[in-house]
Every structure is written in structure tokens, then in C-alpha cells.
């Protein structure tokens, strides 16, 4: 380390006790707390996924009992959605980068930020307790009246866990919105914000407005299950479709909670890899906001065969097509950004391009599901499973890992092995496609989801999928290895190892506790790359 940097110790060395981490108000340390926690849950959910693929490798239900299988896919869904995907990018990269990118010292409410992490952990404890006590078998969707009146598993523990973690989302969203509104540095106008910041703004709006509906819905499940209040069970005078409306009113926007941050990350990765301004900056901003807003109006496309009225389905269908427009705009703009670029294919860029490809496939197959007449045949099959994994795993997880690679030198001050990282990125892309592409075919042939055993004609496609899962698992374990290696043996990173633009690259790596020696002043828009 250069002697001059000793004047302001990095956030990593500013206190070395466990206590200094657990009571920290530093957004960067909180980001690390989250990163460690969500990585734990990612592998927990990943083990469940591995067990699912193991069971489905053969058509017979021969690895575990039907109940165990049902609990396994439920656990996989609950953990991956609420304890990994939704918090993933906002709480780690978002927490770490948002203040740095807008030239602030911290988020607006640092203590609330720490409290959000404790809420996350409290929710996590309930979920792990549920697993240890025997699990839950409702599916992550908690459909009533199964979840309220029929399931004999630990529904309440899970519901309480998700209820609590929801408040972590709400408070993070609130924190980010206030931060972006009030803490931008001199000259950082709204249309000079990096797209990652815009995506954090969009996602925060959705978290703040949609998550309370989830909390309310879960509270109603508790009321029906514990007190027998008839809300969703028709035997008590309730309506099971009411639950689905409430649930998807949150859970469809939740998909955009998962994918908007990924779009933000990828915009940063591509511009840095191409050393060029993003093409159509304003359209990228408008499409983020458009997706966030229209995302609230399409929930009914989950219910085309659920018993919803034909006319409601028609309206939800056209709205679902409309929300695909801003997503298409983003794909075209990323592609156009490559034009006349100075393109290097480092690991972050490979992840970013992988994201664009997989997101596009996920989006296009989403159009099949938005078309009511096709959805009838495809919904509740593996086609849907493949579709949302392309968006959430192919899309969000690729972007998350790409972002972790890109900002790793900034976060840790160390470089990782570029060769291993490229290998892992390519392996992930291939493994992902081998795992999930066959599921499109199985679904188009009618294979229902959430099946412990299935007819033998779907056997080959499932073998391919399970084989892909092995590659995918390896590609997720590899980064753990070379990242840990880099912490000790990695080359030290300079302030800006990629030659990237953005305020976060103007401070030291890792940054000092207060981020900047002097508050930076912004005089131009983002991605102001100049060609050599």
C-alpha cells in the first residue's frame, strides 16, 4: 500500500473486531455483511436445487419421498427468492456502490441500513428453523386453501420468516430513495446518474410499494391458518383467487425487483468493457421507470387458467406484451453500445454479454406466456420453470456475479485470477443452457412442474438438465475458490484497474471509511469515455 493512503485507513482496516463489524454504520461493511449472508443462503438453496435435479434424473420417485421432494422445491424457492435473489444486488452492490456513485459519504439512514440487515438475519433464522424442524410443503407461492387449511408442515414459521425479511426490503428501498434524492454530490444531476443508480431508484420504488402487500397477504394467511378467519378458504366463506391476486400483486413486481438491478449492473459492465457511452441513455432511464411502473399492472398473467374472468385475462395479456417493449429497448441499446466500441472481453464483460443473451431468451419466452392461448398449454409446466430461471438465474445471477467480479478490486483492493474467472463465466453460460434449455422442450411437451415423478417420455430431457446442473454447480463453486485466493494472494488493485469511468473509481481501492477525501464535483454525464 502506498504510504499516502495510511492517512485514511480503508473501510476494511478501520476496526478489526467482530463487534466493529456487527455494529457498523458503514454502508460498505453492511454490504459485506449482506454478501456473506446471501452467499450462505445461495448455497443452501443451491443444495436444494441439486437434490431436485438428482431426484428428477430418473422418472421414478426413487431418491426421496414425495413429501420430502415437495419440501425440497419449496425450500429452494423460498430461500432463492426471498433470501438470495431479491436482496442480492441491492443489498450488496447497491449498498456498497450507491453512495460511492453519487459522491456521498454514506446512505441517508446508516443505522436503519444496519437494522435492515438484522431484520434479514432474523427472517433467515426463522427459515432455517423451519428447515430444521421438518420443512414446509406449500411451494414458495403459498397457494390457499392448501397453505391455510390443508398443509401439515411448518407454514407459520416460513410465513413469519418471509414477513420479517420483507421489512428488510421495505427499509432498504426507503433508504435508497431518500439517499438518491438528498445526497447527490455537487453537479450530480438526475440525468448524470449512472444507470446502476437509476436501477436502484426503480427497484427501491417497487420494494417500497409492493412489499407491504406481501406482508398483508402473509398476515391474512396467518389469520386464516391460526384463527380460522375465512378469507381465502371457500369452506369458510373465503375466495382462493383473492389470495392469488394479492400474492402476484407483490410477486410479479418482485420479478422486476430481481431483474432491474441486473440491468443496472450490466449497463455499467458493458460501458466499461466497451469504453463507450451507453447508447440511448435517456431511453435506458425511461425504460427502467417504465418497467417499474407497468410491472405493477401485469400480475394477472399468472392467473389465465386460474379461474379469472376471460376479459381480465385479455387486459393482463396486452399489458404483459407492453411491458416487454422497454425490455426490448434495453437489449437493443446494449447491443448498439458495442458499435464503435473498444471492446475487451474480461470476465465481467463475458458475464454481461451472457446476461444479455439469456435475458433475451427469457424475455422472448415470456411473450409466449403472455399470449393467453399459448399460456393455457404452457403454464404450470417446465416451460414456465425454464422461462423464469432464464430471467432470474440466467439474468440476475449472471449480472450479480458479473458485478461482483467487476467491483471486486474496489471492494477488496485485490485482483482475482482473470483466466479462472473467464473460465467460470463461460462454464456458467454453457452449464446454465444445458440445465434449463431442455426444460423449455419438456414444458412444451406438457411436463407439469412440481412433479416428484413423471412419465418416462420426458426422461432424456431431464437427464440433460441434471447433467447441466453439475456444470452449473461447478461454475458457482469456482469463484468461491479464486475469490478467497485473491484475498490473500491477489495482486493489489489500483484505484481504477479497468480504466472505467464513475466516481467509485476515483477513490482508493478499497475506499476509506468516508469514501472520498474531498466531496467530488461532477461536471459531465456518466460514461464519459474518450477514445485513444
Amino acid at each position: 500500500m502506498l504510504p499516502a493512503e495510511h492517512a485514511a485507513p480503508s473501510y476494511l482496516t478501520d476496526g478489526n473486531t467482530l463487534r466493529s463489524w456487527l455494529v457498523t454504520h458503514d454502508h460498505k461493511r453492511i454490504a459485506i455483511l449482506y454478501a456473506v449472508s446471501i452467499t450462505f443462503f445461495f448455497f443452501l438453496g443451491g443444495i436444494a436445487a441439486a437434490l431436485i435435479r438428482l431426484e428428477l434424473a430418473t422418472p421414478a420417485g426413487d431418491v426421496m419421498s414425495a413429501d420430502t421432494y415437495n419440501k425440497t422445491f419449496t425450500f429452494h424457492g423460498v430461500v432463492m427468492v426471498w433470501f438470495f435473489l431479491i436482496p442480492s444486488i441491492p443489498t450488496t452492490l447497491g449498498n456498497f456502490l450507491l453512495p460511492l456513485m453519487i459522491g456521498a459519504r454514506d446512505v441517508a439512514f446508516p443505522r436503519l441500513n444496519l437494522f435492515s440487515w438484522y431484520l434479514y438475519m432474523a427472517g433467515g433464522i426463522f427459515t432455517v428453523a423451519c428447515l430444521l424442524l421438518g420443512g414446509v410443503d406449500t411451494g414458495w407461492t403459498f397457494y390457499t386453501p392448501f397453505s391455510t387449511m390443508f398443509s401439515n408442515s411448518n407454514v407459520m414459521l416460513t410465513v413469519v420468516g418471509v414477513f420479517i425479511v420483507g421489512f428488510s426490503s421495505i427499509l432498504t428501498g426507503l433508504n435508497f430513495i431518500v439517499t438518491i434524492h438528498t445526497m447527490r454530490t455537487t453537479g450530480m444531476t438526475w440525468f448524470r446518474l449512472p444507470l446502476f443508480v437509476w436501477s436502484m431508484y426503480g427497484v427501491s420504488l417497487v420494494m417500497l410499494l409492493a412489499t407491504p402487500v406481501l406482508a398483508m397477504t402473509l398476515a391474512l394467511i396467518a389469520a386464516e391458518r391460526l384463527l380460522g378467519v375465512g378469507i381465502f378458504d371457500p369452506a369458510l366463506g373465503g375466495d382462493p383467487l383473492l389470495f392469488q391476486h394479492f400474492f402476484w400483486f407483490y410477486s410479479h413486481p418482485a420479478v422486476y425487483i430481481m431483474v432491474l438491478p441486473a440491468m443496472g449492473v450490466v449497463s455499467e459492465l458493458i460501458t466499461a468493457g466497451v469504453r463507450r457511452r451507453i447508447f440511448g441513455y435517456r431511453f435506458m432511464v425511461y425504460s427502467i421507470i417504465g418497467i417499474a411502473v407497468i410491472g405493477f399492472l401485469v400480475w394477472g398473467h399468472h392467473m389465465f387458467v386460474a379461474g379469472q374472468s376471460m376479459y381480465a385475462s385479455i387486459v393482463f395479456s396486452i399489458l404483459s406484451f407492453i411491458i416487454a417493449v422497454p425490455s426490448a429497448i434495453k437489449v437493443f441499446n446494449w447491443t448498439a453500445t458495442l458499435y464503435k466500441g473498444d471492446i475487451a472481453f474480461g470476465a465481467p464483460m463475458i458475464y454481461a454479454l451472457g446476461f444479455v443473451g439469456l435475458f433475451m431468451l427469457g424475455g422472448l419466452t415470456g411473450l409466449f406466456l403472455a399470449a393467453t392461448a399459448l399460456d393455457v398449454n404452457l403454464t404450470d409446466t417446465y416451460f414456465v420453470v425454464a422461462h423464469f430461471h432464464y430471467i432470474m438465474v440466467g439474468g440476475s445471477v449472471m449480472a450479480y456475479l458479473g458485478g461482483i467480479h467487476f467491483w471486486w478490486p474496489k471492494i477488496t483492493g485485490r485482483m482475482f485470477s482473470e483466466a479462472w474467472a473467464r473460465f467460470a463465466a463461460i462454464l456458467m453460460f454453457l452449464g446454465f443452457n444445458l440445465t434449463f434449455f431442455p426444460q423449455f422442450l419438456a414444458g412444451a411437451e406438457g411436463m407439469p412442474r412440481r412433479y416428484h415423478q413423471y412419465p418416462a417420455e420426458y426422461g432424456l430431457l431431464n437427464v440433460l438438465s441434471s447433467a447441466g446442473a453439475v456444470l452449473l454447480a461447478a461454475s458457482y463453486l469456482l469463484p468461491i475458490g479464486y475469490f478467497l485466493w485473491s484475498l490473500r494472494f491477489g495482486e493489489r488493485a489500483g484505484n481504477d484497474p479497468w480504466g472505467a469511468e464513475g466516481l467509485e473509481w476515483t477513490t482508493s481501492s478499497p475506499p476509506p471509511t468516508h469514501n472520498f477525501e474531498e466531496p467530488p464535483v461532477v461536471t459531465e454525464g456518466p460514461y464519459a469515455y474518450t477514445h485513444p
Binding site: G139, A328, T335, D380
Partner: protein, 312 residues
């Protein structure tokens, strides 16, 4: 679809839309990937190539790739919706088969009283309307070879229709997760030629559903209050189906299958005007299969179709 047959009138139309969208998607994917590849090679770092200049036609380009996808989407939407409306509108000559789902089995009831479990016999060329209800949680009848699927709800009838076109035996799945044996809840749809089907129906004939309902009407004691000679002041049920019933709270409601079902399970919810809400709920005393028979009976009671063997 490589091994999934097209066995209903909808199947070729749905596959037509499917393949059209597949073609369109493939076109988009190839176009975008090719463009990315060309840019990636042409403008890779270290290659000496003209990188100068900013585009000044951004707005036009943005509008182009906003409006063209939008127009395409509207086109697909219209195509899909026309098909969708057909799929949701059963023709008048459709045979009604009642379906009861329960953890973890299917019960099918043909109009002439034939009942079967987990197997559904159908005839080619005969439109069929399935009227479905669940006894417990949400289930879903899915017959991939027909490209149809519909959730089956507790406490409420849902319906779907199709016309089988190809003889054969096809998978019938429960497609909505319903607990432990969800993956075993299913069976087959057996599509026969009309003569075969007629023979099958004849060899499995029982009393018609409405006749079964008439017997149940007596057995459950409904007649004690609702028959003409009763001393209890209860609504007369002759010719009730399809009429408009004024309710005690001032609303008017159409006496359809839903109304008759709810009047048995939740009699307090829609009390007919002029009557005291004295009827007890039969929710836990009659299962959905018997309610179907009762409703079938009420639909013909007091009409000229009430006479036995004329109920179809």
C-alpha cells in the same frame, strides 16, 4: 412438439401460433446475436478501426426499435386473443361432463350417469364441456395432447371445452400443486370413435345424473321442505334454473349452477326474498359429486325434461 400428438380441435391452431412465435423469436435471436458478434469482432480491443464519431440519429433509431416490437406484439396479441375467446366459449351442442377433484384423484360424471375415476372416455368429433369443482384444495385438469388446462377450485365451478379429434390414450395431469401425491394425481383421457364410445356408454349406463339427483333430493331430506306439500315455508324449486331470483337484501341473482351450488353449501349468503334464512348449511354433509347430481336434478325439475331418460 416432437412426441406430443395434436388430438383436439384447438391443438393445430395453438401449435400454429406457437410455431409462428418460435420463428419470430428465432429471427430476433439470430439478428441480435449476429449483430453482437459482428460488433464484438470488428471493434475488439487492439484492432485498428475507425471508432470516431457519435451517432446523431439516436431518437429515430430508438423510436424504430420501440415501435416495431410494439406493432409485432399487438399483432401476436390479436391472434392469440381470437383463439383465446374461442377456447373460452363452449358451443351449445357440447356434452357436459362433470369433474370433481380431490386429493389425489379425479372423478368424472357423464350426463347419463356413467362415473369413472382417473379415466375419461371421450368421442372424436363431439365437443365436450367439463364443469369442474374441487372438494379440497386447488387442482388443475391438464391434457397436453389437447393443449387445454384449467384450474379446479373448491367452492366454485370452472369450465373448459374442447373437441377430441384423434382416437388414442393421452396423459391427463393435475397441473396445480396440491400436496403429497400431486405427481400421482392424474390418469388418462381415452378418445374413442363415436360408435366405440356409444358402446362404452351403453355398457356403463347407470341412472342419469338428474335421476341420481332426484333420489338424493329425497335421501338428504330436501323434499321435506321444498316439495309442494310441505308445511315449511321454503322456496318452490320447479323451473328455478335459469330464472332470476329476487333476494332478501334487494339484489337479483341469476339461478345458475353457481347459485344452486352455493344455495346448498352456503344457504345464508343469498336468501330468496320473502323467506326466513332457516335452511342449515349442507357444506359438510354432501360431497361435491352429490351436489353435482342435485344441481343436475334441479336443472330439470318442473320442466318437460324431468321425465326419466329424457334428461339429455
Amino acid at each position: 412438439m416432437t412426441f406430443l400428438p395434436e388430438a383436439s380441435g384447438f391443438a393445430p391452431r395453438i401449435d400454429g401460433l406457437f410455431y409462428a412465435m418460435l420463428g419470430l423469436s428465432a429471427l430476433v435471436v439470430v439478428a441480435v446475436f449476429t449483430t453482437m458478434l459482428v460488433f464484438a469482432i470488428r471493434f475488439r480491443r487492439g484492432r485498428n478501426v475507425d471508432r470516431s464519431g457519435e451517432s446523431h440519429r439516436d431518437l429515430g433509431i430508438e423510436l424504430t426499435w420501440t415501435l416495431i416490437p410494439f406493432a409485432l406484439f399487438v399483432g401476436i396479441f390479436v391472434w392469440s386473443i381470437r383463439l383465446w375467446i374461442d377456447m373460452r366459449t363452449p358451443p351449445g351442442d357440447a356434452t357436459t361432463i362433470h369433474v370433481v377433484g380431490k386429493q389425489w384423484m379425479w372423478e368424472f360424471e357423464h350426463p347419463d350417469g356413467q362415473r369413472e375415476i382417473d379415466t375419461l372416455h371421450l368421442a372424436t368429433g363431439q365437443p365436450v364441456r367439463l364443469v369442474m369443482i374441487s372438494q379440497d384444495v386447488i387442482h388443475d385438469v391438464s391434457i397436453p395432447a389437447f393443449r387445454v388446462k384449467q384450474d379446479v377450485l373448491p367452492g366454485r365451478y370452472t369450465q373448459m371445452w374442447f373437441t377430441p379429434t384423434r382416437p388414442g390414450t393421452y396423459d391427463l395431469f393435475c397441473a396445480e400443486y396440491c400436496g403429497t401425491d400431486h405427481s400421482r394425481m392424474g390418469g388418462v383421457a381415452v378418445v374413442q370413435t363415436p360408435p366405440e364410445h356409444a358402446r362404452w356408454l351403453a355398457s356403463h349406463a347407470g341412472g342419469s345424473l338428474a335421476e341420481q339427483g332426484r333420489a338424493l333430493f329425497t335421501r338428504y331430506g330436501c323434499a321435506g321442505c321444498h316439495d309442494a306439500g310441505s308445511s315449511v315455508h321454503a322456496p318452490r324449486l320447479d323451473g328455478l334454473y335459469g330464472s332470476t331470483v329476487p333476494l332478501a337484501d334487494g339484489r337479483q341473482v341469476l339461478a345458475d349452477e353457481r347459485y344452486l351450488h352455493d344455495a346448498i353449501t352456503l344457504p345464508g349468503s343469498e336468501v330468496a326474498a320473502g323467506y326466513a334464512p332457516v335452511m342449515p348449511s349442507y357444506k359438510d354433509r354432501i360431497d361435491e359429486a352429490d351436489i353435482l347430481a342435485l344441481v343436475a336434478y334441479l336443472k330439470v325439475r318442473g320442466t318437460d325434461r324431468e321425465t326419466p331418460h329424457a334428461s339429455r
